[in-house]
């Protein structure tokens, strides 16, 4: 079956000046197989997770040094489309995005209704009365009263603004919704409400999602699969449950071990070392300087080694031939780190 969204060998590099290149998205591949599937892209600041969203929306910043790869939506190659075609046919219409920062993503002088109606009217797809009806419909779908259409953003709470952001993204019935830290400025109770809404949208009408977050707990709550981003690469990809219980990349293991758990007295363990300078990446495996398992093979940059669950891990420990006896011992039943 043709996947809904297939991303292959995507690169988005930035020119940071002085001959330095930042590899924000570096050879990233994944696929959203079907309607209603969600993938969580989990990473810390500088892992390139937001750049991935900009690459897929084709909204890269000006200082691009390299932007290539393949993005296919229901089999159609998008990277060969002209900017004009992409704007008319794909962006917002088939792939839409909800931005980080519920507070700043809305125009403060536009009423909520005008804001949501903007893509509808620009497109000449709706006349004014039909757009008004559609706006009321969208507001209800995101759990807001229809009369919120006449309110201004400052009259809304952070959670309500983020709902408006979601309504705007849903306006043209996209197939894929990209969410970039949609709850990062919100309290945990409001975050839970937004997550409930996203779970509903995922079930019906079956919107597929790319959920970008620094919070692996949040990602696993909503997403079927999780990709763990580090220094521009996806170090690991797999079913959320498997990644949480038996992470196959040391970075995923250490990240999970560093989280304070609510219902366990096992103390969280600090991650060794510092995040890498993205314009001066270590040779070989990018996690090698911080990795407690590093061995000779790690001087060589590891490919995405396929795993039986159709995921991958960019770590030589997953290659039986290279890792030798280590292959048997490193995989945790629980996170085996000692």
């Amino acid at each position: 079956m043709t996947p809904l969204l297939a991303v292959d060998n995507l690169h988005l590099w930035y020119d940071a000046g002085g001959g330095r290149v930042v590899r924000a998205v570096d050879n990233v591949s994944f696929a959203l197989e079907k309607k209603g599937e969600a993938i969580g892209i989990v990473g810390e600041s500088g892992s390139g997770k937001s750049s991935l969203a900009l690459a897929l929306m084709r909204m890269p910043p000006k200082n691009v040094a390299r932007f290539d790869g393949s993005v296919r939506l229901a089999g159609q190659e998008l990277t060969t489309l002209s900017d004009d075609q992409f704007r008319r046919e794909i962006r917002w219409r088939r792939i839409a995005m909800v931005f980080q920062g519920a507070m700043s993503a809305l125009n403060p002088v536009l009423r909520v209704g005008e804001q949501i109606a903007e893509p509808l009217l620009l497109d000449h797809r709706y006349d004014k009365p039909a757009a008004g009806a559609r706006v009321r419909d969208l507001l209800e779908r995101v759990g807001l009263p229809a009369d919120f259409a006449s309110r201004y953003p400052h009259e809304l709470s952070g959670g309500q603004r983020q709902r408006v952001g979601i309504a705007t993204a849903l306006a043209l019935d996209p197939d894929v919704l990209i969410l970039d830290e949609p709850t990062s400025a919100l309290d945990v109770s409001v975050q839970a409400q937004i997550l409930n809404l996203l779970k509903d949208l995922k079930d019906a009408p079956g919107i597929s999602m790319l959920f970008i977050t620094h919070d692996i707990g949040l990602a696993s709550d909503l997403c079927d699969r999780i990709a763990v981003a580090y220094a521009g690469e996806h170090m690991e990809l797999g079913p959320a449950e498997r990644v949480l219980v038996t992470p196959h990349h040391p970075y995923s293991q250490l990240l999970l071990a560093s989280l304070p758990r609510l219902h366990s007295d096992v103390p969280p363990r600090p991650m060794p070392g510092d995040p890498p300078d993205l314009s001066a990446l270590p040779k070989g495996c990018r996690f090698r300087p911080r990795c407690p398992y590093a061995f000779d093979a790690c001087r060589e940059h590891p490919p995405a080694i396929p795993l039986p669950d159709a995921g991958h891990a960019r770590c030589w420990l997953n290659d039986r031939n290279v890792a030798g006896a280590r292959f048997e011992t490193h995989l945790p039943t629980e996170a085996r780190l000692d």
Partner: protein
């Protein structure tokens, strides 16, 4: 309002504690226009105490009043009601010019390591500034103490960081500079207001471990203000949950997190997305939260109580130190 006399005897817990708040409230006046003014009760009748070398976590969502309580506890704010005691002295309304001794013995670490450090000062200047203000004239002594503070927060080798600017450092490193700065006058009490909320997940533990180390090795007491109840479990001795300006439940992690009684505590815990396979795709019982702009989030009382009703903490039977402001559930617990 007449100044309360400082000679009134506080209760026993307050005298034994390093820091004690006794029915503290804080009412802010708001200006809504030329002729209209209003009042916001940020904190209402909060009592708490922190022993020497103890860490109390104050957990709550935005608007719960937790930051206000933190600021009152070291008299960065003057409370509009109640008493604040520091080492047996009533500091509730002590004038600022008489608080010099407190500024040495208590300090604060701010939330935002990006805006709370002056980008034009080196790490060494930033950390030494409180010493300069305190009149430590000898440069060599200041440098020696800066070096010791950097070592205490694991920014080593100290020489590598002393002449660096904060802009060249990661969020986690900057926050450690903030802690070193709070530490430089060797305080007995530190208010840490969301010290890791703006730091990447993998660097948080390291910072919290630094704070825990200071508590264990130097006997520093902490008020750890956070929205992250999971971190409170691991880095505090006791937890107090704040909601709408009041403490609704307090006790040990085992009491508050493993056996929560107050409906708000229960809802707060249920809303946490733990990275646990058993916890996925769950609808979190958050529908009943009110979410209005400007208003604090509040939960309808499942027992039909009013959110504005006067609340006071009840002792949970058979559970020393476990206090709950729920008059329906507390007497029935266990």
């Amino acid at each position: 309002m007449a100044l309360p006399s400082a000679t009134l005897a506080p209760d026993a817990a307050a005298t034994a504690a390093l820091v004690a708040l006794d029915d503290v409230s804080m009412v802010f006046r708001t200006n809504k226009g030329l002729f209209r003014s209003g009042q916001v009760t940020a904190v209402g009748d909060v009592s708490l105490h922190i022993a020497r070398g103890e860490t109390l976590a104050l957990v709550g969502e935005s608007g719960s009043g937790k930051t206000t309580v933190g600021r009152i506890s070291i008299r960065l704010l003057e409370p509009t009601g109640g008493r604040v005691w520091f080492d047996g002295q009533d500091i509730s309304h002590m004038p600022e010019e008489r608080l010099g001794w407190l500024r040495k013995r208590a300090a604060i670490v701010f939330q935002d390591p990006f805006s709370s450090l002056n980008p034009y000062m080196t790490v060494s200047e930033l950390i030494a500034e409180p010493l300069v203000i305190a009149g430590v004239r000898r440069r060599a002594e200041r440098e020696e103490r800066v070096r010791a503070a950097l070592t205490a927060v694991d920014l080593t080798p100290a020489a590598r960081f002393m002449h660096a600017y904060p802009t060249a450092m990661s969020g986690g490193q900057r926050q450690r500079v903030g802690i070193a700065r709070a530490l430089i006058r060797e305080p007995e009490f530190i208010v840490a207001d969301e010290p890791v909320s703006m730091v990447d997940a993998s660097s948080r533990v390291e910072i919290l471990n630094v704070l825990r180390g200071l508590q264990r090795e130097r006997g520093v007491a902490f008020l750890y203000i956070t929205h992250d109840i999971a971190s409170a479990r691991h880095f505090a001795d006791r937890i107090a949950v704040m909601h709408l300006g009041a403490i609704v439940e307090s006790g040990t992690a085992r009491q508050v997190i493993d056996h929560p009684i107050h409906p708000y505590t229960r809802a707060l815990i249920a809303a946490v997305p733990e990275p646990d396979p058993a916890n996925r795709f769950r609808r979190r019982a958050a529908e009943r939260w009110q979410d209005e702009p400007g208003a604090a989030i509040h939960l309808e009382c499942p027992h039909g109580g009013s959110p504005t009703a006067e609340t006071f903490l009840l002792q949970v039977p058979g559970e020393a130190g476990h206090l709950v402001a729920c008059h329906v559930a507390a007497p029935l617990a266990r």
